[in-house]
Amino acid sequence: MDLSQLTEAIKTGNRKAAAQLTQEAIEAQTDPRSILDSMIVGMDDIGARFQRNEVFVPEMLIAARAMKESMFILEPLLIAAGIRPEFTAIIGTVQGDLHDIGKNLVSMMWKGANFNVVDLGTNVSPERFVEAAKEHNPQIIGLSALLTTTMPSMKSTIEQLRAAGLSTTKIIIGGAPITQEFATQIGADAFAPDAASAVEVARHLVGNKAA
């Protein structure tokens, strides 16, 4: 079955069409992995256009929602076929910070790239990050902060993650006041300036294998 229409429906955020085309592809006995890949291509396209300022947050939101609705239909087949996300990412807003918009957008885009995302919410202590990392064994941990006053929490979280022996887990940081310079200074593996870049950066850190 030609899955380009499904890719297009994800790209344009047409959730009804995306859900219908997913259902049709399943009924046509299409390989679930191919269906999933066609959706990821759509999300990748949106991410790339977002980075080029051709689309903005509204377009990204409707695409992510279309992907989510299609995934809801496809997921049981993926599980039955033993197809699971290859990578796990943990994400949270650091201790002292309740801001969640940027973190939610990154979470949405990572899910769209077929990462298994564990969202720890806001005001997450370093200890909670360590505990969750030990439980889920993620390849990626994303730390978000909006306020200059909570940036030091990123440093203490990274220190505790490293001290806990999670040295191979890659840590990405982001948020309004964050810069590459700060990321380097506190020992983060990478900085992502926006939600779409967070996908690219995460894939790079895990070896470009997620797609």
Partner: protein
């Protein structure tokens, strides 16, 4: 020393006309935690007096659907979750400042708007405090400040009601609904202002607050902005101009892509020009300074380094770029954070004194 030969009101009026002034107008914003820190470091005066604030807000138009509502829903040792006058459910810190976590919004569906919120809002009276505006005007006139009506901008109010996600999805999927919310909220703010005028409040200008961008650009993108939000921006600016007043717009974030749209809408001034969002008066003033005044842009992140050489470079170059147009006022690029010491901030004020005078 600051060369003071005019009142703030004269200075700012001349800033809008690009006429000679004694020195650049000034104002500043601070986080509450910053002031707490500074009180322990020797600050005795009101920091607005130290800065030499030239502006006086007269009112705050914010048409709440549930005036006075402040209901605690849940609390723990550090945070409290409340339903506020907007009907929003937010989680706040109990003992310090910071942006809240948004838990819920009053307008989850279009039906909520048409059957509940819109009729409720239209039935309510003015959201502004007349006695407060009269008092503020008296103080402002006595101190020679530039007195402005202040209110929220439509995109900000729409996001308060619908939440970010629903607002942005509605922009694409149900623009008529979004426009109805936007038009209604703009009408309510203008009604508030008309109410004050009818009761003898005579301001010098209008100042509208609403963030429509973040660090990497507009939240909604220029085409949707132009189609759905710009008409209300234009309407508010036109209302100010119809009364002979300038129109100031506050937004955080990177709005470089829509400066021409702002000018076309009739905006006279933009503030605070967030430096980390690529706003830079050194670029903006040469390109737009004859048509748009600017207030702000001195980077609080540079202040937070407490590095005097870097701070002087930041303040000097931005003030010089602004002064070249005669259409510039001092403000930081956001609110001064508690990572800036009182000693450092006094140094910033000294720099504004040093570089802010016109020859």
């Amino acid at each position: 020393m600051r060369d003071v030969r005019m009142t703030g009101r004269e200075r700012i009026s001349r800033m809008f006309e690009r006429k000679d002034q004694d020195c650049i107008p000034r104002m500043e914003s601070f986080w509450g935690d910053t002031l707490k820190r500074w009180r322990t470091e020797g600050m005795t005066d009101d920091p607005n007096v130290v800065v030499g604030n030239d502006f006086q807000g007269l009112c705050w138009s914010e048409p709440f659907p549930y005036p006075g509502q402040d209901v605690i829903i849940k609390e723990d040792a550090d945070t409290v979750t409340k339903r506020d006058a907007w009907g929003q459910i937010n989680r706040y810190w109990k003992f310090r400042e910071g942006t809240p976590e948004h838990v819920g919004f009053p307008c989850e569906t279009k039906e909520d708007w048409y059957t509940n919120l819109k009729p409720r809002l239209l039935a309510l009276g003015p959201s502004v405090n007349l006695a407060g505006a009269e008092w503020a005007l008296k103080i402002g006139r006595r101190q020679g400040r530039w007195c402005h009506l202040t209110g929220l901008e439509t995109f900000e109010m729409t996001r308060h009601l619908l939440g970010d996600e629903n607002t942005m999805i509605a922009m694409i999927e149900d623009p008529e609904y979004l426009v109805d919310v936007s038009r209604t909220m703009t009408d309510l703010v203008l009604n508030d202002f008309e109410y004050l005028l009818a009761n003898g409040i005579e301001p010098d200008g209008v100042w509208i607050y609403g963030d429509m961008a973040y660090r990497s650009g507009l939240l909604c993108g220029p085409p949707l902005y132009r189609q759905l939000v710009w008409p209300d921006h234009q309407r508010m600016a036109q209302w100010a101009h119809d009364h002979g007043w300038p129109f100031v717009y506050h937004t955080d974030g990177d709005v470089n892509g829509v400066i021409e749209d702002y000018i076309k809408a009739g905006f006279d001034c933009l503030q605070p020009l967030e430096a980390k969002a690529r706003m830079d008066v050194r670029n903006l003033c040469p390109d737009f300074g004859d048509r748009l005044a600017f207030i702000g842009n001195c980077d609080v992140m540079v202040y937070a380094t407490n590095d005097r050489v870097a701070i002087e470079q930041e303040v000097r170059t931005k003030i010089e770029a602004g002064k070249a147009t005669r259409g510039y006022g001092y403000h930081s690029d956001h609110s001064v954070p508690p990572s800036v010491s009182w000693e450092t901030y006094c140094f910033v004020v000294d720099l504004v004194d040093k570089y802010g005078n016109y020859d």
